[in-house]
Structures are given as C-alpha cells and as structure tokens.
Symmetry: C2
Subunit: 411 residues, 2 copies
C-alpha cells in the first residue's frame, strides 16, 4: 500500500493525509454529502474517496448511510456524515458579563451548552479559570468518560497572543499581561491542548464556517460590545498577524482629537461606536449592558429623540470606519455582530449615506453589509472550531478507535 | 514515466508541475542555489530535484554550473540558476510625473530600463498608451526578436480592477472609469497577456520578493507620493481583496472633519501625510513634485522652521495612521516607500512617540519600521513580477524550446 514516489519527490503517506484532511474539512463545514458530491468538491477520484471514507468509518470519525431512493436512474451514492460522537472539543468563552461552555462534536454538532452571568469589571484570572473549570465539568458530566477530546478552545474579550494564550490587555476584565492559557491549563487539568484567541476573531471564523459568511473569501466581521472587536478573513483565511493580535479594529484612530480610550489612546473607533458611547449619548449609564440597550432600542421604536440621535451618531461613525475598511480590504461582505447587528435596522440609511460619501466607489459597489446569524454564541462556537483545527489538519492522527482500546484495557 | 495514483486520488502530472513551480519560485526569488540547498528549501528529494532541473535546463529556463571548489570534503553540489534570457517580461509604469518601461528576465535580471518625464495632470488614456508603446519598443529594440515574452505587467497610480485593468479612479491622471487594459492591448499589439495593478500593491510585492521585506509574512508597504498608496502582505500573500481594489490606505478616514480629499471624502490619511500636504504646510506649491521635496529636505537640513514644522505634522499623522494599521494587522514589518522613506530620518522620533501613544503595546513591540530599498523603481519591478506569475505557477507550460522551433520555421 505504501507507494514511494521518489522521482516525484512526494510520498504517498503525505498525499493520503492531505486527502483525508480535505474530506474531513469538507464534511465538517459543509455537512453530510454523497460520495459523488465529495468527488465534485474535493477533486479526488471516486476510488480514492471510497478508500478514504472507509478509513474514516473504521476509525469512528464518519458513518455512511444508504441514500434516500430517488426518481433518477443509476445507483444512488451513499451519504457520508461525520460522527459527532467520534471526537469532541470543549469551547469556552469569557465575555464582558457572561461565561459560557459547550461540548461540540465533529461536524459542529452542539452536544451541551451553558452560559452564566458574571459580575462585570475586574476579576482575577484564578477566579475566572475556576469558574470556567466548573462550567466545563458541568457540560461534560453527561458525556462518556472516555470520549476523544481533541482540544479546548477559549474565546476571550481581549488582546491575546495565540501561541500561549497570554492576554496582553483586556480592559473589560481589568487585565494587563495575564497568563490566561497557563491558569486555564492548571484549573482544567485535562489531557488536551488549550487554544486561546480573541472573541471577535473567533466570531469571524464561525460566521465564515457556519453563519452569515459561509465560504466567504474576503470578509470583515465586526462586533459591537462594550468594546469593539473585529476579525478579518482574507482569501478565505483568518488574518491573525504575526502573533494573533490582528483584528483590533476597535482601536483604529478615527477621531484623533476625540475621547480617551481604555487602551490609552484617543478617539479610537470604539470611543464613537461602542456600547458605552451609544448609551452615554442616549443619556443612559454607559456600563448598563444588555438591559439598557434593550431599553434604548425600545425607546427608538417609540421615536424617543435622545435614542434616535444616539443611534444616528453611532450609525454615522460606523459608516466612517467601515468606509476605511472597504478602501483598505475591498471585502465582499461585512458581517455586523453584537449590538451592531441589533442596531442595523435603525441605522441602515445613515450608514449607507456615510459609505456613499466616504468609500471609494469601486469597492463600495462590491460590498454587502449583513447582520451576523450566530448572535451571542458566535465567539463560543468559534472557540470550538479553533480547537478542532489539529484534527482538521491531520485526521489520520485521530483514526485509532480509542474507545475500543480503552474499554479493552480496563476490561 | 506517467504513474497514475488512482488510489491516492492525485495524478503524477499535477505533482510534477507543482514541484517544477516550487523550484522555479525558489530560484526566481532567492537567486542561484546548489542542488543541496534546493533539497533543503523545497523539501523535495535529491533525485526529484535532479530530474526536474534536467527538464528546466532542456527547456532553456535554467542552467547548471559546476560549483566553486571548496575546502570541505565530499562532492560539491552543482549550482543552478534561472536563465535570464530563457523568458522575459515587459514591465511598464504610469507614475504621477513619469512613465517607465523595462525588460526583465527570469530571476529578476533587468535587461533594459528607461524612465521619461511626463507632464503631470490630465492626460488621455490613448496618449499614455501610445507613449508606453513607444517606450516598450525602445527597451525591446536590442532584444532577440523571437524571445519568449511571458507577459506585460503594468503599474498605475490609481484604483484598478485586476481582471481587466479597468481604472475606476486615478486622480493624478484625471481618470475615472478608464479602460486602461484595453487601450494598452491595442497600442502594444503584442501576443502576450497584460496585467494591470495599483503601483503601491506592486511596490509591496517586489519589496517582499527582492527588497526590504524579503520573505516577509506580514508586511505593510506604504508609499507617499502626491497620493498615498499601500500594499499589504498577509501570511506571505498580497492582499488584493475581491477585485484587486484592496490596499487603498491613503483613503482611510483619519480626521473626518479634515480637508477635502480628491476621492470625494474628507480627512483621508493622504490629506494629512501626502506630498501635497507636506509641501503646502511648508509654504511650497503642493504640486511641485520632486524638486520642491528636495528643496524642503535641504531646508530641514538647515533647520528652517517652516520645513521642520511641516515634517513634524506629517510625522505625527503618519504615526496616527500606522498605529491603526499595527492594531488591525499586527504586522512584523512596515516598509516606507516614496517620500516616506526619504523623510524617515527627520520624523523618526515624532513617529515613534505617536506609535507609543496610539498603538496597542503588544503588537507595537513586534513591529519594525524601515525605508524601502527599491526606491523609485519598486512599482516598475513589481509590475514585472506580476507578469511572471503565470510562468511561476506553471513553468511546465514554458519548457518548450520555442526559440529553436521558430528559427527552424523561418529557416
């Protein structure tokens, strides 16, 4: 079976692993597919698909079902699905005023999910890590003890180094230079790698994989919370920058003589369009969170002038900033998450006017602006996607039917 | 020789072409290399390298020379070079006040180059296309009539659609919606594809391939001319956006109540840091071009206050904008081209101060800011690189010894 292709300089094992990866990625993001569809989407031959699916099924990662009988002639092609119990990840999220955890299976199936409130403001990393460990234990309590845990993905509302989950800044948590990855490793005590990333970067990842931007090649995701975060997809890939700090769109200087920003600068975009700015402008407590936003939107519905003018201000500055991103990135799609998705119906016209004035006409004509579809859970589900990455890159390493072996070992 | 790997789902022909491409890219960007170095850099086996180099040599694209004798034991490895006469491209550039043309050979060897002044301001596309055709004829006049011309690359100071070279806006030329690609095809009348792109995007490409940012994975190139252009390298690849309009960093709104910009908006970055802004601030004619910039820098050298304060203004706003890009992109390197490279010695401290105040500390610590090394010719050489792309993607298509065939045909 091991064919060596010295003359071609590539070995078949590398090719086999790459092909397994292509199939698993396709099924993970696109859902169940017939063998014929897989042939069309991956460019692999029918016989290669058959052999590789066989391997995935033997390794507990996929199942094949006979297709629904159809009216068309010819033998129908079996339908292949990933097995959501074959491998799972743990997704965790540290948001401004909530914590969340989920067990997500291969193919994106959410087995368990929980979200709890947390007091906003400064909290020690140890407290948060302990709370997350408790949540993790809760969502995993109903799951088989020997299931394959690929990894742990963590979304955090802060500026994070990807390599080790070191948080250089998270004003909503009162953190500066906090070793979150390390603290979580100690608190969770699991035999699985932990990956930490910025919440908005992960929101972008999951909106592109399963949400408003499926398969999008050039996408800007921006999320309005107390802070403003962003994630960029460039040529189909997330833009992380050198160390994973990329995407801090909230800290684009947009009004350099504007208000002081929590980052230490002045007139960053989030000082004009963040939740705090919106609430303050409407005469409400800037740290009031979701209840105050709900009240403000209800005021807007009733035509209360202070609410309408606050929304108008945010819509205008949202347009100014987005114009810049349209000029620099030439994106096909801009996905608005968090409060931006919620306020879009109220600010759409102002936003459009501003884009017409500010953006270059050629890229302006090509972009669509839509609300996110995964709402509050986008970062949590994005964290799960992040944790699946090692399996998606090399599924061959996860084929061994571990459960069987372990049961045998303990028998 | 043609081994079919049905079970692996990949055919050897695809692998061979990909491997040829890997070798040619390596030699084109990195220069001559020994076979051993190619083994190390491409990950291909020694026997594969030998076979593929043989093909390239037979196809007139590469040559092998015995190595310099060394003091080290073991048989030294032959040195492989691309043949600069084996295939060439034509590079063209439309700048604010010059036109340029070059014949560039495989490996980046500049065979011929010429640059002429052009009257700045509005010029018809037909006039410019005719002038470029004359320049092209001039640089090609000393070359073999039957040489392999891979394509024509064109750098233009404007917002361009990559697919067909349609210029949606070029204020320095007085153009809006001008079919440059079409006009050039008619004027040049060559049997070769024409690729048009924005000058700063191409500057970024060549600085990454042969200049200040060799091999850089996350690079921002910004170029100050009358307008301000930019090019981004993300994960080693140029960011073009959906249609090639990406990189218009000069039109980032940075001072939304600022001066009117030529693009129709207000307070774009170029209204604060462009050549026009710098000259105006120093009490000089904003359209004065290079002679006025030379005079201003000489004033600065002599401590003339108006020159120093104009440079200080530009340095400060340069820092504000770059801080935004550092926060959004987390780049490793920022390359300053055009006047930005020239003024860097005078504004370095102001720029640093502003970055310290405005950029997030984590990505700030990781970035280096350097002047470009290819200076005025960066866009022209970048245009040549663009035209080589089809050969770099699939050198197999260029292996036929065309010259021999043509000579035979005409004999």
């Amino acid at each position: 079976m091991t064919v060596r292709l010295e003359a071609l300089g590539q070995r078949s094992e590398t090719v086999r692993r790459a092909n397994l990866s292509a199939i698993v990625r396709e099924l993970h993001a696109g859902g169940p597919a017939s063998r014929s569809e897989l042939v069309a989407r991956t460019g692999l031959t029918r016989s290669a698909i058959r052999a590789l699916i066989g391997e995935l099924a033997a390794g507990d990662l996929a199942t094949e079902e006979p297709p629904e009988p159809q009216g068309t002639p010819g033998r129908p092609s079996p339908v292949v699905s990933l097995n959501p119990d074959g491998a799972v990840v743990l997704g965790l999220e540290i948001a401004v005023d909530t914590l969340a955890a989920a067990v997500v299976g291969l193919g994106g199936y959410v087995h368990e999910r929980v979200r709890i409130d947390r007091p906003s403001g400064h909290t020690s990393v140890e407290t948060i890590a302990a709370d997350l460990a408790a949540l993790a234990a809760a969502v995993r309590s109903g799951r088989p003890v020997n299931e394959t845990l690929v990894g742990v993905g963590v979304a955090v509302v802060g500026v994070v180094r990807r390599s080790d989950g070191f948080v250089s800044m998270a004003p909503n948590l009162g953190w500066r230079d906090v070793p979150l990855g390390e603290a979580l490793a100690a608190a969770l005590d699991l035999d699985a790698p932990i990956w930490v990333a910025n919440d908005a970067d992960l929101g972008a990842l999951v909106e592109q994989r399963r949400g408003a931007a499926i398969g999008g090649d050039h996408v800007l995701f921006i999320s309005g919370e107390y802070g403003v975060g962003g994630g960029l997809i460039v040529d189909g890939q997330p833009l992380t920058g050198v160390a994973g700090y990329g995407g801090e769109v909230g800290h684009l200087p947009i009004n350099p003589n504007g208000a002081a920003c929590r980052c230490g600068s002045f007139g960053c975009w989030e000082t004009e369009v963040g939740e705090g700015a919106l609430l303050r402008m409407a005469g409400r407590p800037p740290g009031g969170g979701r209840p105050e936003i709900d009240a403000l939107l209800s005021d807007a519905e009733n035509g209360v002038p202070s609410a309408l003018s606050a929304l108008d201000h945010v819509g205008r500055w949202l347009g100014i900033g987005l114009a810049g991103f349209i000029n620099v990135f030439n994106p096909r799609l801009i996905v608005l998450g968090g409060i931006f998705g919620r306020i879009l119906p109220y600010v759409g016209r102002t936003l459009d006017d501003e884009l017409d004035r500010r953006a270059l006409s050629a890229p302006r004509r090509l972009v669509r602006i839509v609300p996110g579809t995964l709402r509050e859970d986008a970062p949590l589900l994005g964290a799960a996607e992040l944790a699946f990455e090692p399996l998606l890159v090399d599924p061959a390493g996860w084929l061994v039917p571990r459960r069987g072996r372990l049961e045998q070992a303990s028998a």
